[in-house]
């Protein structure tokens, strides 16, 4: 089976995995949304506040301008909320710089929300839907700011050099004598790019948004690479009886 985010699970009655695979093929988001709406009638499509937001943001003139200003306040509140949650990890960053980060995140989130208004289908309250844009913008900025002065080692074999880091995954694996097995699987199973991404994200805990910036790619593309690498490694280690196999490979002869 090809490496893919969509993992086949064929043996009935293996739900919900089987159902999930079918949904993936047929158009995941719309299908599960419809199912959720059937199951939970208390949805935002009948929620007055969401209808108000859509109405005023699609209006003309002062009404729309006022609504946009209110939406920006909402985005700024969410961005500052995210800054507050991460402040402890950013104690070395000045407060006014964090305020700037929150404002930039709110500005970009506002633009994203306005450009995607037609994508809002009412599966949640409008405010919940809009919040996620501000939290994403703020979170990405704050992760990158936290790593701004830190080196990201990208050489595929560099992880060996980090074996004595306190509390690292390396130390955990080394103590359980799995380090050698994992390294052998990395060397034999992964491409150079997969090794680079896996080592950075899974072993050295580099935030995916930091790595995506350094490599000029996206979170989604990197996670796909990580996912494929993990599947290969699990298959390799499972073939040697060291771990459980991937869920869609259980029962296959080795």
């Amino acid at each position: 089976m090809a490496d893919s985010a969509a993992i086949a699970v064929a043996a009935p009655p293996a739900r919900p995995s089987e159902r999930a695979e079918r949904i993936e093929r047929e158009g995941y988001a719309r299908r599960v949304t419809d199912r959720a709406l059937e199951a939970d009638p208390v949805r935002a499509r009948t929620e007055p506040d969401s209808r108000w937001w859509l109405t005023v943001l699609r209006a003309d003139g002062p009404e729309r301008e006022e609504a946009i200003a209110r939406l920006h306040e909402l985005m700024l509140r969410a961005a500052r909320f995210e800054v507050g949650r991460r402040r402890a990890a950013l104690s070395h960053v000045r407060g006014d710089e964090l305020d700037d980060v929150a404002m930039q995140a709110a500005d970009d989130a506002l633009m994203a929300v306005l450009s995607k208004l037609d994508h809002f289908r009412g599966e949640s309250r409008f405010t919940t839907w809009a919040y996620k844009f501000a939290l994403l913008e703020a979170g990405v900025r704050l992760r990158r700011r936290a790593w701004q002065e830190r080196e990201v080692v990208l050489e595929p074999d560099a992880w060996i050099e980090f074996g004595d880091r306190d509390g690292s995954v390396h130390a955990e694996l080394e103590s359980s004598e799995l380090l050698g097995h994992l390294k052998a699987a990395i060397d034999s199973s992964l491409t150079a790019h997969q090794r680079r991404v896996f080592v950075a994200l899974a072993l050295n805990d580099v935030p995916i948004d930091v790595l995506s910036e350094r490599l000029g790619t996206t979170r989604g593309a990197l996670y796909k690479t990580l996912h494929d690498a993990r599947r290969k490694l699990r298959a390799e280690l499972a073939a040697n009886g060291l771990v459980e196999p991937n869920s869609d490979e259980k029962g296959r002869s080795r």
Binding site: A5, A6, I7, V9, P16, S17, R19, A20, E21, E24, Y28, A29, V32, A36, A39, D40, A44, A78, F81, E82, R85, E123, S124, R125, T127, T128, W129, Y131, K132, L135, L136, G139, V169, E172, L173, S176, E177, L178, H181, L182, A202, P207, I208, D209, R219, G220, Y223, K224, L226, H227, R230, R234, L237, A238, G241, L242, V243, E244, P245, S247
Partner: protein, 78 residues
């Protein structure tokens, strides 16, 4: 060494990630607001949106986004 020796090795499990079906980062972002509201309404969000929880287990960035959105919505409700 055998499976029984290592199936509970948390470090290795974290490194290798979840084994089941999971959606992508893009799909996770698209559905995150719905998932959070289903959770907070006491509905079975995982049954309605299969693969999202598994993705959160494997993707620290999306997991943080989920935790933040959930916390913000709860703060709004309070």
């Amino acid at each position: 060494m055998s499976v029984s020796d290592h199936r509970h090795d948390e470090g290795l499990e974290r490194v290798l990630g979840p084994t089941g079906f999971e959606i992508t980062c893009e799909q996770c972002f698209e559905l995150l607001d719905q998932y959070v509201e289903l959770e907070l309404a006491g509905a079975d969000a995982d049954a309605h949106l299969p693969g999202l929880r598994t993705h959160l287990d494997g993707c620290p960035a999306c997991r943080e986004d989920h935790e933040s959105l959930r916390a913000l919505v709860i703060a709004d409700q309070g």
